[in-house]
Symmetry: C2
Amino acid sequence: MPRRGTKKPYIPIDGQACQVRDIGICAPFSGEALGALETFKAAERMYAPGRDFLVQGESAGEFFTVLDGWAFLYELLEDGRRQILDFCLPGAFLGFQPDLSAPVTYSAQALTDMSVCVFPRSRVADFVRQHPELGLRMACVAARDQYLAFRHLSNVGRRTARERVASLLLELFFRVRLHSPASSGDKIVIPLTQEHIGDALGLTSVHVNRTLRQLREEKLLTLKGGSLQVLDPDRLAEVAGFESDVAFLRH
Amino acid sequence: MPRRGTKKPYIPIDGQACQVRDIGICAPFSGEALGALETFKAAERMYAPGRDFLVQGESAGEFFTVLDGWAFLYELLEDGRRQILDFCLPGAFLGFQPDLSAPVTYSAQALTDMSVCVFPRSRVADFVRQHPELGLRMACVAARDQYLAFRHLSNVGRRTARERVASLLLELFFRVRLHSPASSGDKIVIPLTQEHIGDALGLTSVHVNRTLRQLREEKLLTLKGGSLQVLDPDRLAEVAGFESDVAFLRH
DNA sequence: AGCGACCCCTGATCTAGATCAAGTCGTGTG
DNA sequence: CACACGACTTGATCTAGATCAGGGGTCGCT
């Protein structure tokens, strides 16, 4: 999909076109502004699976866009209980806070090998003043993330284990397929353990296991070795209580 | 507290100074820009308790700042289960979405008599282009709201009923006192039924009732007739597992 | 005064999901 | 090859919180 003939239509990564060019924070930029955005960018960085690249309580001074790979945001309680707040796919925007010097309130951990775009918090105010479209874009992305967080909250607060699991897996299924090049087929790669799923949904991994077995026995889905296969999207959506407004999952 | 000597330092409401001038979306504005913001504002409006002023599934075309009174955001599931997503106090910013024409994803209901500032969604992009500080401000407010939503999610997903109730009430206690003129004393007005509390925390009102009794018997708090009295903030904070980063509750 | 709508409160019982305990796999490693 | 480790599985039991059922108080309305 070629873009209008500007000098620098894409932000290069390792000499390649940026995969999240159209869905991330950079979407509204083009032409000269895109070049400026690139000077605003502080770095690109890689993280290995398991790496905590944001740590609750520390102050980071930077925020991120995920270029490739999966991560998740989480909060730890004093006694070790963990709540996963969000799964971050390519295009996700994270780490931004109003008070630039304050410690961050959640941790972020890589689930796969991943690469991120790093922006310095200190210069964001100036940059937004020169490029107002970034401010609006950030507000829009934040609004979408709020929608996801609210959905997640309804799931955990008011749905049964069965509904929660169906809903999360179906949501991830759609989110992945929305932007992945090979977006057909009923199978996606999903680098989560049953414990991740439990910690996202307020359940124990034991109970997640039993719930998955049930869904498998009903021929709704299979989840095995990091691969999710949705056998019957419609019935699964029914179980999940999906409002089918999948459009909102888009960035 | 007098501000620098500009012509129009406050947005007038019914001839009075705006109560949320320093905490809402307008905080970074002053002087001429403040006048411009006022022309951006579409209206002021009042709502009576119980009034749904945003309805899930309808498209609104406007977003709001709460000037006075309480409201709450909620989602309804098909079978009537309700999840309260957030309580909105003066200064709250709500109803903004990336896709201006899309239906809103949650409902908003007034808890008390309230007044709101109404902004048209259609003109926000233009206005932000002329006044970049609004875009940044919206992003900041959204980041704070995300923090609250994440907190809420951790509560509901990973804490016991006792911890949830303590945490919510203490949070509201601090949020109210932060901006209320009479911010001393151990008592605040809190216009919630036990059912509201339950629907916010993923509990039944019956269980909220029992939990409140327990907290009352332990002389931690009393909640009666819309009035919350925190008897022992420190012990209550302990029960709530509060991380004491109350600073973040500020707008 | 009488009535209906809401809240608040409490006891008895039930159940979804937690906890405890053990065993199977698969995979990397000294 | 043995063996340690992490993820997945399954059964038995327990419990936090739901559900069911009822009683009482207050307020506004006729």
